[in-house]
Symmetry: C2
Subunit: 484 residues, 2 copies
Amino acid sequence: MMRDMLNLSINRDNKIPLYKQIRDQIINLVTKGILKKGHLLPSTRDLAQSLEVNRTTVYKAYRELWSLGYTESRPGSYSIVRDRKEINRSTNSVSVSIDWNRLIPLNDVPFKSAPEPVKEMFDFRTFSPASIDEAVDKFRKCLNDVLKERGSQLLQYGDSYGYKPLREYISQMMNENKITTDLDRILITDGAQRALDLICKLFGKPGWTVITADPTYSEALSLFRFYGAKILSVPITPDGMDIGVLKEILQDYPVSFVYTMPNYQNPTGISSTQQNREQLLESCEDAGVPIIEDGFSEDMRGTILPIKSMDKNGIVLYIGTFSKVLFPGIRTGWINGDALIIKKLTALQYMSSVSGNQLMQAALDRFCHLGYYDLHLKRIHNLFKKRMEKTMNVLSSFFPVKSGEYTCPAGGFYIWFRFNPSFSSEEQLIKKLKEKGILITGGSIFSTGDSGVNLRMSIAHVPDNRLEEGLIIFCSTLKELLKG
Amino acid sequence: MMRDMLNLSINRDNKIPLYKQIRDQIINLVTKGILKKGHLLPSTRDLAQSLEVNRTTVYKAYRELWSLGYTESRPGSYSIVRDRKEINRSTNSVSVSIDWNRLIPLNDVPFKSAPEPVKEMFDFRTFSPASIDEAVDKFRKCLNDVLKERGSQLLQYGDSYGYKPLREYISQMMNENKITTDLDRILITDGAQRALDLICKLFGKPGWTVITADPTYSEALSLFRFYGAKILSVPITPDGMDIGVLKEILQDYPVSFVYTMPNYQNPTGISSTQQNREQLLESCEDAGVPIIEDGFSEDMRGTILPIKSMDKNGIVLYIGTFSKVLFPGIRTGWINGDALIIKKLTALQYMSSVSGNQLMQAALDRFCHLGYYDLHLKRIHNLFKKRMEKTMNVLSSFFPVKSGEYTCPAGGFYIWFRFNPSFSSEEQLIKKLKEKGILITGGSIFSTGDSGVNLRMSIAHVPDNRLEEGLIIFCSTLKELLKG
C-alpha cells in the first residue's frame, strides 16, 4: 500500500474550517474513485506536517471520515478507505424483504377517522356544535394570556396527574354533582378516549370480560376488542341497562367491569332513571365488580345525578370530558376514582405519553376560572334543548311509524332509530339518505352482534335554520322507501 | 291507600316553573317522611284540576319524580312513593367491596413522573433547555394567529393522519436528511412516546420479542415490558450496537423488531458510525426484521444520516419529535414508514384517542413555516455544542479516573458514567451527590439486567453560568467517595 500526501491544499483565507477542507477534499477523491478501497491514508502526523496544520485538525478530519463511513478503522490507528453504501434516494415502496403478516397480529383494525363535516349536506353524524365562535375567541385570549405569563414553564413537561388548578376546578364541578373528591383522585387525560385506553391498560389481561349496554359507544367496543376482552352485552331499555339480565351475567361470569353511560347514552340518547342507577350500583357492589361510568355528556345537565354520587364504597371510576360540550379539539378529559387506582392510572399514562398537554390544560383552567365555561354551558344547554324539542316535534309529525321507532331523549344530542327488519337494510338506508343530502351514522358499529337495522342521529351539528328542513327530508325519504 | 291532594300550593308570581314547584314540594314531603313508602299520589288529572294547572305540568313533575327515584312506576300509571337510596356525601376511601388485586394484573407499573426542575440545585436529570423564552414568545404569536384565522375549525377533530401542512413540512425536513417520503407515509402523534405506544399496539402479541441496545431509553423498556415483550439486549459499543451479538440473536430468535437510537443515544450519548448503521440495516434486511429508528435527537444535527435514509426496502419505521429540541410541552412527534403500515398505525391512533391535538399542530406548522424552527435549531445547536465541549474539558481535568469512565459524545446532551463495581452503589452515589446539590439519574432504569453502577448526566438544563461549577462539584464528590 502506498502512502502519499494526496495533493491536498489548504486555503487559510477561506471561512471553511481547516478540518472540513481536508475532510471534503478526501471525500471528493473517494467519490471520484481516485482513492480506492484499501487505500491507506497518511498518518495524522505526516499529513499535519505536510499541510502545516495542527495534528488535531487532521485527527478531527479523519474522525469524521470514519464516522461518515469513508474509512475503516477509528482514527489513531491506520485509516484505510473502504466501500461505502450508496445513500438511497429512490422512492420507498411497500417492503418486500419483510413478512409483515407474520409480525403484525392485528385482526385488521378497521381504518376509521372522525367525519369531516360537509357543509352542503345535512350532517347528522358529528356532534361538534356548529357555532362556537364566541367561545373560541375567549379561549384564544386565555391561551395567549397564560403563555405570556408563564409560557416557558407551561411548555415543559407538566405534573403527571395534570395541571393542578384545573384539577381543582374539576373537583368543584364534581362537587356540584354531589361527588366528594380531592386532587389525588383526579387524573387529567388528553381526552376521554385516552382515559378509556388507560382503563383498558389497567384492567386488560388474557381472557378478561367486560359488560356493556347494547348498543353502546362504538369506540369503547373497538378498544375492548383490541385489548382482547370478551364483551357481554346487556340490552338497553327506556330506563337504562336491563338490570335483570345484568344480574344474571354478573352471577355467571367473572367480570372485570361494567361499562355504562347513564346520561344521554351514545348512541340511543337514553338517560337511566335514578332507580336504574341505584340498582346497577347495588348489583355491582354485590358482585364486587367495578363500574366505569362514562359521563361524556354529564355537562348537558341531566336532572339525575351520576352513579358516582352514590358510590359510598369507591367501586366507580368516573370518566369526564370537556371535549364534547366545549371543543372536540381541546382533547381534555379526566378520570375520577380511588386514590390508589388513580395513582396506577397515572403511572400508565406516564408510560404511554410522559406528559399530557399542560398548555391546553392551563388555558382551559383560565377559561373555566373566568366563568366562560359556565356561560358557554348555559348557551349550549339552551341551544340543544331547543333543538331536541324541535326535533321531537318534527319527528312526531313526519316520521313514518310503519318504518320503525325512535327514542325520545330528554336531552343531549343523540337519537336512535330502530327500523323494522322488513323495511330496509342499513346500507341501503344510508345510501338513499345520502342521495337526498342526509348524512347519518349506521347502527351496526354500536353493537356486538346482529341487532337489526338502526341509525344514530346527532342533532348537534346541523345549523338551527336548516334543522327542520333536514329532518323533514329524512322522514320523507323514509316514506318513499316504505312505498317502494 | 289514601289519595289526597297533598295540600300543595302554587305561586304564579314565582319565577320557578310550576312543574318544579310541584316536584319540589313532593320531594320535600317525602324527605320529611310525611309521604311514606307505598303512598299513592293523586292522578295527574285530579291534581291538575285541584291546583288549576295544565295536566302536562303535573305529568312533567311526576316524570321527574320518577326519574329521580321518588316514585316507583312511570308516569301515566299510578305513582307510588318508594324507598330512595341516600346520596353519598361522605368521603370515599379505598374500596373494600372490590378485590382489586384479582382484577388488576399489573406487575406493579412503578409510579414515575417527569422530574420537576429544582432551581437551587444543579439539575443534571432533565433535558429541558433552560432558556427558550424567545421561541416561546414566537410560538405564542403563532398560536394566537392561527386561532384568530381558523379557530372554530382547528378546535374540531382533525385529520387522522395529523395536520396536513405540518406533514408537508416534516416531509421536507426528512428530505433534508435524504429520506424520500410523502404525506401518506407520515403520521403525526402527540409526542414520540405515543408513537412508541402505537408501535407496541401494532406489533404486540403473546410471546413477542424485541431487541434493544443495553443500556437504552428507560421508557421504551417500560412499554415493551408492559406489552409483554421478551427483551433481548445487545451491548452498545463506542460505534453503536454490537453487530456481532445482534446477528447471533437475529439468527436464534423470531424477533418482531430492533429498537435503536443511532443519534446521541439516550442514555449514553453515543452516535453510531456510518458503518455500524449500514451493518445494522443489512443484518435486519437479511433476517427480515423491521427496525424502529428513534430519531429523538436527529435535530441535534449529527454528521451522519439516519438509517432510514438508506432504507431502500422500507423496513425502517422512523420516529421523530419536536418535543426535545423545541419544547417538551408541545407534545408533537411523528412516525414515518411504509404507507400501509402508517395506515394501520393511524387506525390504532384513532382507536386510542379519536384525534390528535390539531391546534398545537397548526401553531407548530406556522412556527416552522415562518422559519422560527430553523432559527431556534441553530441557537440550540450552538448552545449544546458549547456546553458539551465545556463539559468534556471540565471532566478531562477533574473526573477521578480511578472511579470509572465516561462516554465522550460528539454532540447531544447525554453523558454516561460507568463506575468500577468496587467504587460505590448507585443508591449511595445519588444520595451523596444530592447532598452536594447535584441531581442526576441512576443508570439501572436503562438496563434490562444487572449492569453495574452507572449514572446518566444531562447537560441540557443547568444554566451556562453554573455548568462548570456543577461539574466540578460532581467530580470532587466522586473524589471524596474514592477516599472514604
